[in-house]
């Protein structure tokens, strides 16, 4: 409570109880008393004399925030949800993005290859309408280069690539990793595509997920290549028990319905 002390002292001369209260407060130091000086100069402009104005301002603020929230939520529904595909190289990010685009737009997004680091630039596809159970959401798809901690041009030579081309590919791939990391901040939701035949405890996977959690971006983990005999979804589930894991084969379009259902659930968290 704010109250001009001069006024209070004046009234305390008339009222014994008031004087008693103020003496108790000062002596026992139960409450802090903040003397407000110069109240005689601009009494009209002091807020303590106008509790109703304060309340009024607060009500306006609450209403403003309420309408702002409604407006923002309406606006958000209309704009594209930025859906990013992240993961280590050769896990099938572009294959999955292609599968989705093919299912809903009839066009592919990028080229795929057995040679790692085929995607070396971030690729976009605007306004992809994904329909599931008569509901449609519009996404901006963002396919990113695979994130790795090492890139050796000699690894590309095993795929009968010329040394010059291998070196150029390695150089572009390093730039691609940097670009992928930069894009982490701009995503609304992220699908982490993992190769179900590989060890999920790779530090790159943990680092990507850790970053998304720190940025509060919803995550879905996809265990790709479940058509292969070596695939082990349970291993991925036990590595990331706090996240939804969906097993798919992007190449053959296996279990895509469950994937779309999970994407819709994920989009609700935005």
């Amino acid at each position: 409570m704010k109250y001009p002390l001069t006024d209070y002292l004046k009234s305390s001369g008339k009222n014994q109880n008031d004087r008693g209260i103020i003496t108790c407060l000062v002596e026992f130091k139960k409450y802090k008393i903040k003397p407000i000086n110069k109240v005689d100069i601009s009494l009209k402009t002091q807020n303590f004399n106008k509790p109703s104005t304060q309340r009024h301002n607060m009500v306006i603020k609450i209403f403003k925030n309420f309408f702002k929230k409604i407006f923002n939520s309406m606006f958000r529904e209309k704009k594209n949800i930025k859906l990013g595909f992240y993961g280590p190289p050769n896990s099938g990010k572009t294959s999955l993005a292609n599968r989705i685009c093919k299912d809903f737009t009839g066009e592919e997004m990028g080229t795929v290859s057995k040679i790692p680091h085929e995607t070396r630039n971030v690729q976009f596809k605007e306004k992809v309408d994904i329909t599931y159970k008569e509901k449609t959401l519009t996404f901006k798809m963002i396919d990113t280069p695979g994130i790795a901690t090492k890139i050796d041009y000699e690894d590309f030579l095993k795929f009968r690539m010329k040394k010059k081309d291998a070196k150029a590919r390695a150089k572009e791939a390093t730039q691609g990793v940097i670009e992928s990391i930069k894009w982490l901040d701009d995503m609304d939701v992220v699908v982490i595509v993992l190769d179900a035949t590989e060890n999920p405890y790779n530090q790159v996977n943990i680092t990507i997920i850790g970053n998304l959690v720190a940025r509060k971006i919803p995550v879905l983990i996809v265990a790709n290549k479940i058509d292969l005999r070596k695939a082990n979804i349970k291993k991925i589930e036990s590595a990331f028990p706090e996240y939804d894991v969906v097993g798919i084969s992007a190449r053959y379009g296996k279990n895509m319905e469950e994937f779309y259902e999970s994407i819709f659930k994920l989009a609700k968290k935005v």
Binding site: T149, K150, T174, V177, I208
Partner: protein, 133 residues
Amino acid sequence: MVSRKNLGKIRGFSLQFLPFNEIRNLDSSERIKKILDIILGNNILIIQGKLEPEEETRLIGDTMAMIRHVKNFRGIELAVISGNRGNIFQKARQNIANAISGGDLGAITIIGPATIVKEIKKNPRKIELLLNK
């Protein structure tokens, strides 16, 4: 500054241990610089504790930039083994301990240059370091 002359030529390597005290008061840039300086000296680095996720991505990003600029450098192998597992109470207790100590002291981070460390095989309970011949 460590010499980078012999980078990539494996005539031996050393294991270097970095206690958490050494990096506790450093900011992210200084931590990453320190780590990369050690790695570029053909050392395998064992750090007490672990980096923040943002620091890990920054380390990866800086590593990628260096591959293009430092001769014979091909990147790093990185693995973290953390004791932060168990039920919700154990995790909560661990989080409180981490908050008091200023980092996850129960974790161990291993970082090595890719020219020396071929692969780090990891499962939740152990890390296997496979070295290049």
